[in-house]
Amino acid sequence: MTISTTAAQRRIEDLLGSHEAQTLKRWQEISETPADELRELFLALRAAVGEGDFSDVRGLLADFSRSRARLGLPPAQTSRAVFGLKEAVYELVEADGDPEALRGYIWFSKLVDDLGLFTFETYSAAREKIIRDQAEQLLELSTPVVKLWEGIVAVPLIGTLDSARTQVVMEKLLQMLVETGSEHAVIDITGVPAVDTEVAQHLLKTVAAARLMGAECSISGISPQIAHTIVTLGIEFGDIVTKATLADALSHALQRSGVELRRESSARIAVKAERA
């Protein structure tokens, strides 16, 4: 790049150097972008025009478009901010009147076009990443792990289980076991319409991993039609504790942790009778 630096390009470099404040001010007015955001870019660009190495400029532009994507500013406004520099520099060149500068401007204009496109591309990539992250967060939100009792956590699964979601559930459940120091986990599949071999495999792996961590994991809410299907498929749950309802699984886990459950309703009636 340095080799191809012509006299025309050097004219532009000189102009940018000698009219720094003026160009920056015009650029700011045209692009409606705060001056402090543009100053760093301007200085980097001026240096790059001299040296022929634009990697710093690209780095700054990438940061610039990423932060704008995060703020939700429109993409057109973002690339217009870059294109605005062409107009500002054109005014300089016009006032200067030197044909050499005009030739330099054609080169400069192409350069800014490239940088503008680059800005637009990084902006789009940043937007896409934000959308992907949000989808992942939604996935997290739709699979809450709840604490049922001291030492007992549960994850109620609702809706279609694809492998991405089952993976998230598995990781969250194991993490929750560690965080709460729980020894019992219940996976409740009452809200799951079908369990195929892939989902079953994920469930089996989760139970195995929980066991490795010293926790007992049971599965509840297996509806009659899912039980039928699982048996027909030939999936074996081995010695995994399965319960019809979440309540059954909770009472099983409580028993295992040594909590004794007693029905007190009859006693309460007796108390009432005494008072009467």
Binding site: T160, A194, D196, T197, E198, Q225, T229, L233
Partner: protein
Amino acid sequence: MTQPRELPIAGNGDVVLVRQHVRKVAVEVGLSLVDQTKVVTAASELARNALVHAGGGRVRIEIVHNGVRQGLRLAFSDEGPGIPDVQQALTEGWSTGNGLGLGLSGSRRLMDEFELVSEPGEGTVITVTKWAR
């Protein structure tokens, strides 16, 4: 009545759509809740096989008649590597990937009719049917 429909199987999202459509038609045909769940599960297995083992394919979903009985027929087809040894593939626990190896054999038991045609190098067509009782 729902017309025969062909759905693509090119990604995980498609497997979910196939399951949903199969469920809808299964209800329409009058399958019991247990049979609906069996058909939806078999559809999930076969769609996933097409995706995982053959890189994608498609399924044709249609309502069929046999005298007074109504049924639901699913035809999965792909242009993947095919299955060289069908007996082996239908063996419980046999998997060339890291699955449970129960999808093919299990689907055969979940459905009333099961037909597998596969030519190594050409692809695989699996047609399954469930009749309403």
